[in-house]
């Protein structure tokens, strides 16, 4: 594993000749010939549901392994790593934000934020004092400390939960942030405020951001807009 603090010329994401198909009953296949994201770039990936975005994200995050072709993140070919190493890689290098239900509802927001560090010792080391780092993050995200430390995450509003999810994705400065429809559970006003915070933090940390959404209106803020249908081909067969 390369040292993330060492500047390299490698792209944040580089995909070439990727082929993947889900096994089991749902025969869904995805093919991406070439797609890359530069370091520090913010990319808006436009995709309707069913366009294969979840599949693509699971490949970028190393949850699934391509059948053929390369998926490189930060210069590391994920396909060459074993399952446990890919999980470790994801923990160390990638912060993930979902559409909603990002948090373990029974745990405090603070524990939710600290959770990835348990699987990523290097990221933990970068934090220094993880607790202080988490609280610094939530301060800048406008979350009160009493809320973060004590209430179970289920007691937070959706907007607050999404901000906690941002803090969890950013803690320990992973170089790549993947956001999957992070604003679709928020109303229009909250969406804008949320994106302001997300962009500010991502840029402050110099991270790469890939945000996937079916809402094209969000695209204006990003360095680059890519439609999933332009880079990926999907095929579907019904097993029945």
């Amino acid at each position: 594993m390369t040292d993330p603090s060492r500047p390299t010329t490698a792209d944040a994401i580089a995909i070439s000749n990727l082929r993947f198909a889900w096994g089991g009953r749902r025969r869904f296949g995805l093919a991406v010939d070439t797609f890359s994201v530069r370091r520090g770039e913010t990319v808006f990936l436009f995709g309707e549901s069913g366009s294969g975005k979840s599949t693509l994200l699971s490949l970028v995050c190393g949850v699934n392994k391509p059948a053929s072709g390369q998926v490189e993140v930060d210069g590391t070919d994920l396909g060459a790593l074993r399952g446990a190493a890919r999980d470790r890689f994801r923990a160390e290098r990638i912060g993930v934000i979902f559409q909603m239900f990002n948090l373990l509802p029974y745990a405090s927001p603070l524990d939710n934020i600290l959770l990835p560090l348990h699987f990523a010792p290097e990221r933990r080391q970068r934090c220094g004092d993880p607790r202080a780092a988490a609280l610094d993050l939530t301060d800048t995200l406008g979350l009160s400390r009493s809320l973060i430390e004590h209430a179970p995450a289920a007691d937070l509003s959706v907007g607050q939960q999404q901000r906690v999810a941002v803090a969890r994705a950013l803690i320990g400065h992973p170089p790549l942030i993947i956001a999957d429809e992070p604003t679709s559970a928020l109303d229009a006003g909250a969406q804008s405020a949320f994106l302001d915070l997300l962009f500010e933090r991502v840029q402050a940390f110099g991270a790469t951001l890939v945000l996937v959404s079916h809402d094209a209106r969000l695209a204006t803020r990003f360095d680059r807009e890519v439609s999933l249908s332009d880079i990926a081909r999907t095929h579907r067969e019904d097993a029945a």
Binding site: W22, G24, R26, S54, L57, S58, C61, V63, N64, G83, A84, D87, R88, R90, A91, E92, V96, F98, F101, N102, L103, L104, P105, Y106, A107, S108, D111, L114, L115, P116, H118, F119, A120, P152, A154, R168
Partner: protein, 416 residues
Amino acid sequence: MILLRLAIRSLISRRITVGLTVLAIALSTALFLGVEKVRTGARASFADTISDTDLIIGARTGGVQLLLYSVFRIGNATNNITWESYEDVISQPGVAWAVPISLGDSHRGFRVMGTTAAYFDRYKYRGGQDLTLAEGNRFDDLFDTVIGADVARQLGYRIGDPIVVAHGLASFTEHDDKPFRVAGILAKTGTPVDRTVIVSLKAIEAIHVDWQEGAQSANPVSADAVRGMDLAPSAITAAMIGVESPLQVFRLQRAINEYREEPLMAVIPGVALQELWEIVGVAETALFGVSAMVVATALIGMAAMIFSGLNERRREMAIFRAVGARPGTILGLLVLEAALMAAAGAALGVALLYTGLWIARPYVDAAFGLYLPISALTPREWAGIAAVVAGGTLVGFFPAIRAYRISLADGMTIRT
């Protein structure tokens, strides 16, 4: 540590289902340990009841039966032995001491035992402890009685109170023409002595002197008149014997068993107890098996509860996977969850056990004369607790392996 904290938080968040599951494990553990405690408690209580007595003699019957009716006041003697035989037997060489006892009458549910003053010196319990008087004195007058601690407590007797002995164990005919007086109250022993009314052997003879064929004769003898009569007993129920040297026990036992004048029997209390445990052992094993099955049922119930919750927790597993947890971590978390529930159940079970023992002890003592000691957990019981937790952890693997497969298939997003 964060995983342990999260596992505990997760369990607390599902407190109703988890609570019921833990309660089921706790009840089964308490039952399991309770059977063990009662078993060892009963054995200890029985073993503590008589000590330093080498032989018990009585009419020929089963060895266990003789021990039960003579020492534990359980069941009845089928036959008495004549005073002549008794005197003949105890005059044999090697006999150091002998205490005759005569049973058969009762007082308000408590058995009345006739014996000699030597009983208070020779009867030992719990490794050689002597009977001590809490109040009053040993019997002095013919119609004096010394009562056990439970008799005094339950009937509220004090020194000097009158006692009328009933004929037989459950009868309405009373020896009311010859009332006794409480002369002494014994300190609590935790043995059947606590539930016994002790009178002199002569007194037993005296109250029956005018009885024939189980009924009082038409010409009763007054209490005062009986004092002038010869009250040498004609028969006794059993006798406790001590020998001069342990080497003589078996010889003497054989001699008594082969006594020609009358069918007699001598048993060594420890040997008879051992026979009793062999009989009871089958029931003990059955109880142990049943209680172990109850524990297994509770643990399987826990596995079922975890299984049924897996589908709603796929989101949770996806979150773990997204932040970098391996499927193996998910497996570990679920096993940890099962282990925590089993451990909580076992701990609560121990608490229930001791609360139950504490509450039940007076009732068990009153109803069965069984004084259950409240003792610390034995290594055997600790092993039982460890087995419950280990069993819980083991069954936790079944839903955990299922969760492992789900999280491997789902990854960060829930697939349907």
